[in-house]
Amino acid sequence: MSLLEISDLTVDFDTEDGLVQAVRDISLTLDEGEILALCGESGCGKSVTAMSVPRLLPPDTTRLSGSVKLDGRELTTLPESQMRQVRGKEVSVVFQEPMTSLNPSFTVGYQISEVLRRHEGLSRQAAGRRAVELLELVGIPAPQRRMKEYPHQLSGGMRQRVMIAIAVACSPRVLIADEPTTALDVTIQAGVLDVFRDLRDRLGTAIILITHDLGVVADIADRAVVMYAGRAVEQAPVTELFANPRHPYTLGLMNALPSAAVNGRLAEIPGMVPSPLSDPDECAFQARCPRAQADCRLSRPSLERHAPEHLAACFHPGGKS
């Protein structure tokens, strides 16, 4: 049994324009110590999928079906009081913007210690000592001094490390990182990715990394799920995915990167993402797909196994068999 099992997850949002179909029939698993990347472009549903695990979606407008099991325990139906224990202690989240997620009026030390005192019941002294250890763990130099500083005194990279320290304070089993390095410079990004790698290696933390950056996926993830228009279109171990992409959308993304230019031109993906307000019974990518045939418009391809660990939702997949 996997640590985390998401099955047939479907998420809709009530909006003024109608029902937005954010996520459709996502099933995935996450093992202990595994780094799983959820990738795709804006609006593909990668964040919504991940935020369904700690139930951080607006309760009034979210309609969710399917199952999310952590260690065999169903989270979607858990009473809110118990869910509060799960959040932070078993599943925690690191967001993209470290400036808006930290409270500007409290010191870094206070904000980390507070989590430890609340969730772990540590004394003030013990929480303070543990907070220094955590700052060390995420690679912050002179942690004793940093404890007394306020968020505005830290650089973006240091703030993100503090956020990670808070997120792992209670040794969560699952860490969800939503575009954690997107707002950071590349020289800082490399160091923050090292922190994630290190957490996994030392504590066995399982990590769901939400990213649009295929370079980051290639750098750190063990396995990746590529999403398009609310659905998983491909899923594979990372080396296999990049060596042998099956879904035309995955291949399109890889070829659209500036580094993949051929004779001074980039491969474009024509057209636009379909509206999330409708969900016709066809492949959502067919209108933009160079491999599309008549059958792609007649029904929707399901995620099929093409190699032992390689799944793709395509009637006419590319790649080597």
Partner: protein
């Protein structure tokens, strides 16, 4: 030279955003100005457009010193230099139609009148790959990629000689970014404008720049032809920057030699003495802490670097020291 910047300084109060920077852009040339946040790259763009007043130094546009021109004297020159911004959401006036936005420079500079403007706008929209009916739409009805095409159309409708593009594709998804980059390449080839392309993204620069200048804390640390910079970066900072950007190939990426820089970028309020990069440079030695290295080109092949360790027969290797 279309653009010549000589020893430009721009201080915002105590912040030394740009601190002595010189560069040139030739006719039809695309210069990629690369740097991380706080390097001062955007300030350079703003100074070129005179959106902000330089503290010192000189800016020449097509041989004419524009550094201290009055607003009125600057006005006719604004035909020749235009800007494309990063955020296609906030840089287009939401109350105007696309046709009005794109046509506005023509009316402002009295190049067209109310009757002839729509024909020019149609032609420009077609050039940037937007359908004619877009002219009557409003910015909020467009996708991010379409808005950036509108931004390009507005910047190019007067056929400027120089375009300053500040992170024009950074807010776009990869698939949209690809089509906008192809479009910029096509337009540049057809219209022949020169371009100061400001970005943090090395892969974008490698794709479209003829030459690259790398900035760190308000100064250029290295510049040269794009292929040269990527094949043989000379400054340890450039080497670190190139090694830190992950490549989308797990086998290669995990086998790469990476240069991990210690610490943070120092504050531009109080830049380090000597070489500004010495606090993070793995190769720094005594002289780096006291003497500021000039941008020098010991091999004389148009590839200068500001590093004491760069000599005619030696290039430092930041990856060799851990």
């Amino acid at each position: 030279m279309i653009l010549r910047i000589d020893n430009l300084v721009k201080h915002y109060g105590p912040v030394r955003a740009v601190d002595g920077l010189s560069l040139e852009i030739g006719q039809g040339e695309v210069l990629g100005l690369v740097g991380e946040s706080g390097s001062g790259k955007s300030t350079v763009g703003k100074c070129v457009l005179r959106l902000t007043e330089p503290t010192a130094g000189a800016i020449e546009l097509d041989g004419r010193d524009i550094t201290h021109l009055s607003r009125r004297a600057m006005r006719p020159l604004r035909r020749d230099v235009h800007m494309v911004f990063q955020d296609p959401y906030s840089s287009l006036n939401p109350r105007f139609t696309i046709g009005q936005i794109v046509g506005e420079p023509l009316l402002r500079h009295k190049v067209a009148d109310r009757r002839t403007v729509s024909g020019r706008v149609s032609a420009m929209l077609e050039k940037v790959g937007l359908r004619q009916e877009m002219a009557s739409r409003y910015p909020h009805e467009l996708s991010g990629g379409q808005r950036q095409r509108v931004g390009l159309a507005r910047a190019l409708i007067l056929e400027p000689r120089l375009v300053v593009a500040d992170e024009p594709v950074s807010a776009l998804d990869v698939s949209v970014q690809a089509s906008v980059l192809n479009l910029i390449t096509d337009l540049q080839r057809d219209m022949g404008f020169s371009c100061l392309f400001i970005t943090h993204d090395l892969s974008v620069v490698e794709f479209l720049a003829d030459r690259v200048a790398v900035m760190y804390l308000g100064k250029i640390v290295e510049s040269g032809p794009t292929a040269e910079i990527f094949a043989e970066p000379r400054h340890p900072y450039t080497q670190a920057l190139l090694s830190a950007a992950p490549v989308a190939d797990p086998v290669r990426q995990r086998d790469r030699r990476r240069i991990v820089l210690g610490g943070d970028v120092p504050s531009p309020v109080d830049p380090p003495a000597g070489c500004r990069f010495h606090t993070r440079c793995p190769l720094a030695y005594d002289a780096c802490r006291t003497e500021e290295p000039p941008l020098h080109d010991p091999r004389g092949n148009g590839h200068p670097a500001a590093c004491h360790l760069v000599t005619a027969d030696r290039v430092p290797d930041a990856a060799a020291h851990r």
